[in-house]
């Protein structure tokens, strides 16, 4: 057997040299190559996810499983392939993550069982081991779904058997296996309709392909780190998610559509691009390519110039990711709406400011429409706010008399069961909201809310925009005015005196509770001072202070 070589240590063979026996240490090197190659391509596998929930990150799950398996043998100097494979399989089993990880661990379990402590692996044994991998994998499920990693291991084991009938060269068999796995992966959408709909191939199958390809690349001395030159379907490119991957210094996103003048050398293309930036993706459809890259600010011309040298570009899009991310942070609503269970009563409230929105949200409002005295939301905005809610039972709190009409129109236009509580102000809206029973009867809850709004009076303190004599009150432009339930009742020189006067007119001494929502144009300490004064004058009354954040109105007072 002069032409046989037992592979040990670094592989020092040319790719044409035959390998017919593999021992434990070579197995270790090959699995390490698998692991590294899968790690390099992890994101590609993750991006193939179809289900939003089960096994959402196949690439990561398979990688963690492989890592756990490799950790079992990382310090092993075992020459016996059967023994080392057994440890490896044990590690895979212990570290199996997610559905695909569990299947992968079964594949290794079957593989190692077939080796049965034998010292070396030859072609015949490889065929038997892959067959056992396949069998063990299929045994784990009552209803094997085809078009998944199961199909790929099946096709691979069949290819190994066919190949071994002609050769005892393990490299040739592995080559055939890689080709078979690739073909099998490409065919998965034909077997599993959900993949076809999503325009992707099976992620677990693709992961298994990378494991096999990693071994082959190692033998052929191809690099294992760096992203694989990979072309996706244009429709499958998911560029939105790349925002999560922005690295420090890679602040500009460049997307270029182009048609190369000659056939694109993908490996070279990736190599050149990876010198310029990160998050490289390439898509292809009908001869047109789309490339995506994140580069440093100031280097955005480089990919453009490079692509320009390869062919004709049709579209270039650029975005400053840093600014975009900061913008996203700034635009976050300052409140969190409570999740609505399907079928529950959803309350939609109009709110004039962030603080009040926050209070509404904490009381269980399902949607908030920004608007109020000076910016009335349209019927369309109101409709839009509840159309997508997972329920047909809606209550609208307009919280302003000028919005009630728009809300009524929204009610008549919607196919949903809508009731409008005619709340004319925030105070009424809040007391109505306290009557909410999400699982109650819509009519009954609506009636309760309607009754609740009559129990509460609303005072408002703002500034006069013109000189007027209204309802017997003389008002000068720039002076402060107080309104009771929307009606002008007092006007004075300071906020404090106006507020106290207003409360007097509202006969607060006969009530129990005053809630103050202070606006965006007044500070907390000013409000505290005024509240002190109110407390002195009306010692019997409970006072609550909240930041309302509303524009124009210094204070909205809810009097109960």
């Amino acid at each position: 057997m002069s032409n046989e070589s037992i592979l040990t240590g670094p592989i020092e063979v040319s790719t044409t040299q035959k390998i017919t026996l593999i021992n434990g240490q070579t197995f270790k090197k090959l699995t390490e190559a698998s692991l590294i190659w899968l790690k390099s391509n992890q994101q590609i596998v993750n991006s193939l996810n179809v289900f939003p929930v089960p096994d959402g990150d196949t690439g990561t799950n398979m990688l963690l499983t492989m890592q756990a398996a490799y950790n079992e043998i990382i310090n092993s100097s075992e020459e016996n392939i059967g023994k080392i494979a057994k440890d490896f399989a044990q590690g895979a089993l212990m570290g199996a993550r997610g559905n695909s990880g569990v299947i992968l661990s079964q594949i290794w379990r079957g593989f190692s069982r077939a080796l049965d402590s034998l010292p070396t692996l030859n072609a015949e044994l490889l065929v038997a081991a892959l067959a056992e991998s396949r069998n063990t994998a299929y045994k784990g499920v009552v209803r094997p779904v085809e078009g998944t990693i199961l199909t790929v291991i099946n096709d691979t084991s069949v290819a190994a058997k066919e190949s071994a009938a002609n050769t005892d060269d393990l490299v040739k068999i592995l080559e055939d296996c890689v080709v078979a796995a690739e073909t099998s992966v490409k065919n998965t959408p034909e077997l599993l309709p959900i993949l076809k709909t999503a325009g992707v191939v099976d992620s677990g199958g693709k992961g298994l392909f990378y494991l096999l390809e990693g071994m082959l690349r190692y033998i052929k001395k191809l690099p294992l780190d760096g992203v694989a030159a990979n072309v996706q379907e244009l429709s499958a490119m998911n560029l939105e998610d790349t925002l999560d991957e922005v690295e420090e210094g890679q602040d500009v996103e460049v997307v270029i559509d182009f048609t190369p003048t000659s056939e694109l050398n993908l490996d070279l293309f990736y190599q050149e691009l990876s010198k310029m930036g990160t998050s490289i993706q390439v898509g292809e459809g009908d001869g047109m390519y789309r490339m995506h890259i994140h580069v440093e600010d100031g280097r955005q011309q480089e990919p453009i110039a490079y692509v320009g040298s390869l062919g004709k570009w049709t579209k270039i899009a650029m975005e400053n990711l840093r600014a975009q991310m900061e913008g996203q942070k700034a635009n976050k609503p300052p409140y969190e709406l409570m999740p609505l269970e399907p079928g529950q009563i959803a309350v939609v409230a109009v709110s004039p400011g962030d603080g009040i929105s926050r209070i509404f949200a904490s009381l269980g409002v399902a949607a908030i429409i920004t608007g109020g005295q000076t910016m009335n939301p349209s019927t369309e905005e109101i409709l839009k706010s509840f159309e997508d809610l997972p329920t047909d039972r809606i209550i609208i709190l307009p919280n302003n008399k000028n919005i009630i009409l728009a809300a009524d129109t929204a009610k008549s236009l919607s196919v949903k069961d809508v009731q409008v509580v005619p709340s004319k102000n925030i105070a009424q809206g809040l007391s109505a909201l306290l009557q909410l029973e999400p699982d109650g009867d819509l009519e009954a809850v609506f009636e309760q809310m309607k009754n609740a709004i009559t129990d509460v009076d609303c005072g408002e303190v703002t500034i006069a925009t013109r000189t007027v004599d209204l309802d017997g009150v003389k008002v000068e432009e720039g002076k402060f005015i107080g309104l009771s339930n929307g009606k002008l009742v007092v006007s004075d020189k300071t906020i404090e005196s106006t507020t106290l006067d207003l409360l007097k007119k509202m006969e607060v001494d006969k009530r129990e509770h005053v809630t103050i929502f202070y606006g965006a144009n007044i500070t907390e300490s000013e409000i505290d001072k005024i509240a002190e004064k109110i407390k002195k004058q009306y010692s019997e009354i409970e006072i609550e202070i909240h930041e309302g954040g509303q524009p124009h109105y210094f204070m909205i007072l809810s009097v109960e």
Partner: protein
């Protein structure tokens, strides 16, 4: 029985319907070889059931659904991973197919099937 209201009337989804979805999605999960009866004596608890209702317990709490499953799994798989992917699978399928919210899936592994030993 769960009720979903729509403008034309109500939709009723029975325990059995939900149990069937849970049963089939559990069987499609890797590592599960079958479901055992939920309330049989210990000695019989390894017997696989064919009727979904026997292997799945469905409860309605308010408008959310709670599921209890009693699977038998293949020997040699990592039970924790299988159980968590079964519960995710079942939750996903029920929510997708019925529009109901699943707030709890408890997986009680009733036993292992040993088809071949290492």
């Amino acid at each position: 029985m769960s009720t979903v209201n729509n403008p034309l009337g109500s939709i009723y989804i029975s325990h059995r319907a939900i149990a069937s979805i849970a049963y089939h999605s559990a069987l499609e999960s890797y590592g599960v070889v079958g479901l055992a009866a939920k309330n049989l004596a210990e000695g019989l608890s390894q017997v696989l059931v064919r009727d979904p209702v026997l292997g799945v317990e469905v409860e309605f709490e308010n408008s959310a659904v709670s599921i209890d499953l009693y699977p038998i799994v293949e020997y040699g798989v990592r039970i924790k991973s299988v159980a968590s992917s079964v519960s995710q699978n079942v939750k996903y399928r029920i929510e997708k197919d019925t529009g109901l919210v699943v707030d709890r899936v408890d997986v009680h592994i009733r036993g292992l099937r040993i088809s071949n030993s290492d």
